[in-house]
């Protein structure tokens, strides 16, 4: 190994940061080269001084009050995060319960109305939705069927809409998805 190459490796050699192979090669050169050994000593002294300086240095620190405040902030952060997580967990079932309750209420209402009017589903007499662009399956000949009540059920999860139509007598006239 030449002096030039050895000196390029010297900074890392001084701290023991070369690979084994390079360490051996540089070591062999240093054994026979006083000039490079002097170079190495320069690095070692510089490292020793830096470490001594770091040991002697007084870094800033928090007062005990500040440290307590920091730890309190960490605890506060933890509490806040727990509450946020709990809030997220609670809100999901609440929304689902609301959707389910709404759907059940609509079903009960529809069932009650159907039972009261004593009319079941009649496939041939489906109503037209008010304002609908196209008539559904068939048209009502009865002019009274123009007074139509619709009940819309919307699934919050899928977005699917089902519309039920009733005439003025709350006779179920059909549905549409």
């Amino acid at each position: 190994m030449t002096c030039s190459k050895a000196r390029k490796l010297m900074a890392l050699y001084a701290g023991g940061d070369l690979s084994e192979r390079r360490t051996r090669a540089a070591g062999a050169h240093l054994d026979s080269c006083p000039a490079c050994r002097k170079e190495l000593e320069g690095y070692r002294r510089a490292l020793a001084r830096a470490k001594a300086a770091a040991g002697a240095e007084i870094a800033p620190d928090w007062s005990e009050g500040q440290w307590r405040a920091l730890m309190a902030r960490v605890m506060g952060d933890a509490t806040k995060r727990k509450k946020e997580q709990a809030g997220r967990v609670k809100s999901v079932p609440r929304a689902r319960w609301a959707a389910a309750a709404g759907a059940a209420a609509a079903l009960v209402l529809a069932a009650v109305m159907l039972l009261q009017n004593g009319s079941g589903f009649r496939p041939g007499s489906v109503a037209t939705a008010p304002g609908a662009a196209e008539p559904m399956a068939g048209v009502l000949g009865d002019p009274s069927a123009q007074d139509v009540v619709s009940v819309t059920l919307v699934s919050q999860e899928t977005g699917l809409q089902v519309v039920w139509f009733f005439n003025r007598n709350f006779e179920w006239k059909g549905d549409r998805e």
Binding site: K8, A11, L12, A14, G15, D17, G42, Y43, R45, A46, L47, R49, A50, K51, A52, A53, A54, A56, E57, I58, A59, P60, D61, W62, W67, L70, M71, R73, V74, M75, D77, A78, R81, K82
Partner: protein, 188 residues
């Protein structure tokens, strides 16, 4: 340096919801972490802010901590990243370095006498001669004594990059010490 059993238990407790275990977990690193932040930022206020943020980040990301790794080194990694982010964000680095160089009273030490003061000033002066990356590598490897692999991991770079920057940093440090204190070089 691997994580000890007490630390493992404390980490497990915090993760199980016993947040009061966080304080005994990090208290041994309170001063080392601030010292590291100070060496990287060269600004006392900035160092305290970096360390504070590092502790908060450590708490928030404790679930991602790999227990096979040294807890100290993991904390150092967080602090080094925080210091770097801050230095990138702000333009305070130059002012902080100049303050450190020109205001020796900001880092008083216990040692009395000229040589003790010179030694401390060396570190201040010489670190200011390094680029931010060289300083990070030098502080973590040579002052905090992380090995090359851990230094690379902490700085999210390759071992080759660490070696290149470390070599440059040591050369600059040696040259700076030689230039400032030729008498000390001659007498040793």
């Amino acid at each position: 340096m691997r994580m000890n059993e007490t630390e493992k238990e404390l980490v497990a407790m915090v993760l199980a919801g016993r947040t009061e275990a966080f304080e005994p977990l990090v208290t041994p690193y309170r001063r080392p972490l601030v010292a590291l932040a100070y060496r990287l930022t060269r600004d006392r206020e900035e160092a305290l802010e970096v360390a504070q943020e590092a502790f908060l980040r450590a708490f928030r990301s404790l679930g991602r901590y790999d227990v096979s790794r040294s807890f100290r080194n993991w904390l150092f990694q967080i602090a080094a990243n925080e210091a770097r982010d801050r230095m990138r964000r702000g333009a305070r680095e130059r002012a902080a370095l100049e303050d450190a160089v020109h205001d020796g009273s900001r880092a008083p030490g216990p040692e009395a006498g000229r040589e003790g003061q010179e030694v401390r000033a060396d570190l201040m002066d010489c670190l200011s001669a390094l680029t931010p990356r060289e300083r990070e590598v030098f502080v973590l490897r040579d002052i905090e004594e992380l090995d090359i692999r851990e230094t690379a991991r902490a700085l999210r770079c390759s071992s080759v990059s660490v070696r290149v920057n470390l070599s440059k940093a040591r050369r600059k440090m040696r040259d700076a010490i030689r230039a400032r204190h030729p008498h000390l070089e001659e007498t040793r």
